[in-house]
């Protein structure tokens, strides 16, 4: 396959970015999208064209959440339910022009080229995305039975990989899907109940402070989530938040 790539280049956080166009030939359709970028970088280095393009990636099997590119206007590219690293070139055609951008959202500033700073997500989790159980002194794992349906649902909510596609897809840069996944997981499980009210209040407050916008109710997040987290998580978050505000005096 022969491709034309339009890639966002930005020297550092303060510099002004721009698109560069690169030609890339003889790419195997069996190649993954990130391997295609590896090949581009080898070419850029070998031919002394430019510094290699920086992009975050690590596990390359769709679970670490490190990779995330805006490909032809969609987070993680044209396929549903996959991360950028799971996308393969067979999904494109010979002669295609592919536009590659970083996540664009105020709480995720660009560090360089396609790499953004997602530490805002860590900060939200630090506000309450946990049960406060410290090591040791906990009951036997089977002491509290949990209905299978609830456990399965909690697992689905917990499968978020923290990639940020939901924020990047949202025109308000809202983190509702991300926050709601964590809140839902703990709401569904008895272990999360004691701190439910305080958790949701703190996490939502932090989300607002960090500059994430409100929910648009258009659910682009759900459509683009590589782990297909459901919008019902957001409904649960809203319910929990209102209950916590009205019924709980915990701050």
């Amino acid at each position: 396959m022969n491709l034309t790539l339009k890639i966002w280049r930005q020297e550092n956080a303060k510099a002004k970015g721009h698109f560069e166009t690169y030609k890339l030939n003889d790419i195997s359709p069996e190649c993954s999208f990130l391997e295609m970028l590896d090949i581009l970088n080898e070419q850029l280095i070998n031919d002394n064209i430019a510094h290699p393009v920086c992009f975050d990636n690590d596990c390359r099997e769709g679970i670490c959440g490190m990779c995330g590119l805006y490909i032809n206007g969609r987070p993680h590219g044209p396929d549903d339910g996959v991360t950028t690293c799971q996308l393969h070139m067979r999904r494109f055609h010979d002669g295609d022009t592919i536009t590659i951008e970083p996540w664009r959202a105020r709480p995720f500033p660009v560090i360089k080229d396609l790499v953004v700073d997602r530490s805002a997500f860590d900060k939200i989790i630090q506000e309450g995305g946990y049960t406060s159980a410290t090591t040791g002194g906990v009951p036997d794992a089977n002491a509290i039975p949990i209905p299978k349906r609830k456990a399965d649902e909690a697992m689905d909510s917990a499968s978020c990989i923290g990639c940020g596609a939901c924020v990047a897809a949202c025109k308000n840069a809202s983190a509702m899907l991300f926050v709601s996944g964590k809140v839902s997981q703990y709401t569904l499980l008895p272990q999360g109940k004691p701190e439910a009210a305080i958790r949701v209040k703190r996490m939502v407050k932090k989300m607002d402070e960090l500059g994430f916008g409100s929910c648009t109710n258009t659910f682009a997040c759900e459509a683009e989530c590589p782990k297909q987290l459901k919008r019902t998580n957001i409904a649960r978050l809203n319910r929990e938040f209102i209950c916590a505000k009205v019924c709980s005096d915990e701050k």
């Binding site: 195997s28 391997e35 596990c59 630090q126 946990y130 410290t134 009951p139 697992m155």
Partner: protein
């Protein structure tokens, strides 16, 4: 150099850990605040250690190379975590888990450590449930289990095919809580580049800020290394792109012994290699062997026809299929340990029965499971793995068998540690995959998660405290100390040297060359000749690296080429160490298979008389490293030939 002292406590096996805890030294809460602990790495071992030590009140600094601690490669573990809960009432016990782990490791692990691992395994499950880890459950509401290789009981707890993710997120959440409370400080996108040793004790580290390129100095009363394994020396592995053995090599160069480097695990069920552009190999969880059956055609003509695309798996009738694991190992069948399953696949492919376009693949077939359980049940168990396979291979595993082949996955070798997980440098601890301690020559499935969390939650909080009790008299050492200066300068010099080469060969080209040498010569089947020929080949790549690598300066901002080059420099050291260790070990055991040493049936042949020891290597600068032996004394278990028939 002193002999290796493993510091195994006295007493019967089942009382050693209890006795240790009862007699260890403690630090009072007011003093804990004054003690600095550095943790490098935020995988299961690092995150759980940092969270636990932070909760105790120590002043913890934790470092990771990714943008968030949640990205560490523990997250990719799929299948599960072992524990001796015996919830299914199928005959499991701490003793049984201990025995299976020792046997699975081919009698090359330390008894006392493994027993402790089995002992605390149950606490891990309790802890994770309390953290809200959504393990799979039965309709009763109680926890579900499944089977893994090398065991005849169901002791593996799981969360769909994402167990590592959920356990890591549990540890990450505990870590996040401590960060909020202020007992843990988090430093992301930092790579450890050197260890600072003052008066014989580990006292700090030098890191490189991957964004600004600046080197930084950090003091700690002790340093815990939890930086994972070195599988990426082989280039193609199931490890993440960033996983590397660099920090461990830095410690090795500062005097920490490196044990059993030749024990490299090759996982039997990975998606096969396609082309030279390939950057990694994806693992298909071992849990698939619960219901999947592995086979190749019985007739060599059929295998050839499949390779040429003239036939497909579905064209081969049942009686023409060779379920070679079930044939060779009727007692364990498809659930033999990984090393055995891997070698059996290689044996069939080498004999000409391999499938796939390269002939380097075997089938993993779910048709009988689908017939027995129904498609829905199979989808419930393995749905996300099937989807992952389909995305990569563009084939539907519900309809046509998966193609799999072994790939480098895990390294049992690592920094030598004693019973307290302390290396030969006082104050330097190593936990999780980066130490050598619990898996002997082969790790059983679902035991890596167990070990990482055991070390971090339940071992280090005790043993580190025992060490730090004597440190309350020592004030923090200012990082202006000459040893910090020296260590930082070493890093700067190394970086400048790499940047000044301005050669013609890219880092990836050289790492691929190294990986190819390692796979061909120091891979699944090793011989004296292959190992002896590997050493000069590795040296050649090393020479090219230091004379012709092409890394451009971009020091003010992210420079992934420099990151990779620094890691490759260390991988080159490790590569020759692996080959040397494999050469001295004139026997076959676990993941280390020397073709000269096999039985008539092609099984691994151990030499307990001469090789029942841990080989721990001491760095000697430009001279060849020196090996020290720690003899393994099996007091409680009867050493036998491993038999899965």
């Amino acid at each position: 150099m002193a002999t290796l002292n493993s510091k195994i406590p006295q007493g019967p096996l089942s009382e050693k850990w209890t006795n240790y805890k009862a007699s260890q030294k403690l630090v009072n809460p007011a003093n804990k605040r004054k003690l600095d602990v550095i943790v490098v790495g935020t995988g299961l071992a690092g995150a759980s250690a940092a969270a636990s030590l932070g909760a105790l009140g120590f002043n913890v600094k934790v470092f990771c190379i990714q943008d968030s601690p949640r990205r560490a490669h523990s997250i990719a573990a799929q299948g599960g975590i072992n524990a001796a809960k015996n919830y299914p009432n199928d005959g499991d016990s701490i003793g049984r888990l201990f025995y299976d782990t020792i046997k699975g490791g081919d009698y090359r692990a330390r008894e006392a450590n493994v027993y402790r691992l089995a002992e605390v395994s149950n606490n891990i499950i309790d802890q994770c449930v309390a953290q809200g880890v959504p393990f799979a459950r039965d309709y009763s509401g109680y926890l579900a289990n499944r089977s893994f290789g090398g065991a005849q009981v169901s002791r593996t707890f799981y969360a769909k095919g994402q167990t590592g993710q959920q356990l890591l997120l549990g540890a990450y959440s505990a870590l996040s809580k401590q960060i909020k409370e202020g007992t843990v400080k988090l430093y992301t996108r930092r790579e450890m580049e050197n260890l600072v040793v003052i008066d014989g004790k580990a006292r700090g580290i030098i890191t490189r800020d991957l964004i600004t390129g600046q080197t930084e100095r950090w003091f700690g009363h002790c340093v815990i290394l939890a930086t994972g394994g070195y599988g990426n020396v082989y280039y193609l592995s199931t490890n993440a792109m960033g996983s590397n053995g660099s920090a461990a090599v830095q410690c090795y160069k500062k005097g920490a012994f490196f044990a059993n480097p030749c024990y490299v695990q090759i996982h039997p069920t990975c998606i096969p290699v396609h082309g030279d552009y390939q950057s990694k190999l994806t693992l298909m969880s071992e849990s698939l062997r619960n219901d999947g059956r592995i086979w190749v055609p019985k007739k060599i003509e059929d295998a050839q026809a499949i390779r040429e695309g003239k036939k497909t798996a579905n064209d081969i009738p049942e009686e023409e299929r060779d379920y070679y694991l079930e044939r060779r190992y009727p007692a364990f069948g498809n659930l033999v340990p990984r090393d055995i399953a891997s070698r059996a696949a290689k044996e069939r492919c080498d004999a000409g029965y391999g499938v796939g376009s390269t002939g380097k693949a075997v089938f993993l077939d779910f048709s009988s499971a689908i017939a027995r359980l129904g498609k829905d049940k199979v989808a419930e168990r393995y749905g996300n793995l099937f989807q992952m396979y389909q995305k990569i291979e563009d084939e539907n595993p519900y309809e046509t068998p998966m193609k799999i082949y072994p790939a480098v996955h895990y390294t049992m070798g690592g920094l030598w540690v004693d019973y307290e997980l302390q290396t030969t440098i006082p104050g330097l601890f190593a936990a999780g995959e980066c130490n050598f301690s619990d898996h002997g020559a082969n790790r059983l499935g679902a035991s890596a998660l167990m070990q990482g969390l055991a070390d971090g939650y339940f071992v280090l909080p005790y043993t580190v405290q025992n060490y730090l009790a004597a440190e309350i008299y020592n004030q923090p050492i200012p990082t202006s100390h000459e040893e910090f200066e020296k260590a930082e300068n070493e890093v700067k010099e190394r970086i400048n040297k790499i940047l000044s080469i301005k050669g013609k060969t890219t880092v990836d080209t050289l790492q691929k060359e190294l990986g190819h040498i390692m796979w061909e010569h120091v891979g699944m089947g090793r011989t004296k000749e292959s190992l002896e020929s590997a050493l000069p080949l590795i040296a050649k790549v090393k020479e090219r690296f230091w004379n012709d690598v092409k890394v451009e300066e971009s020091n003010e901002c992210l420079n992934p080429e420099l990151e990779k080059a620094l890691r490759l420099a260390d991988h080159l050291e490790l590569a020759s160490l692996i080959a040397r260790d494999a050469l001295q070990r004139e026997e076959s055991c676990g993941g280390h298979f020397r073709e000269e040493h096999q039985t008539e049936e092609g099984e691994a042949k151990r030499d307990d008389e001469n090789f029942m020891f841990v080989g721990a290597w001491e760095y000697k600068g430009d001279e060849a490293p020196v090996m020290h032996k720690e003899d393994l004394n099996y007091e409680f278990i009867k050493v036998q030939t491993r038999n899965y028939k």
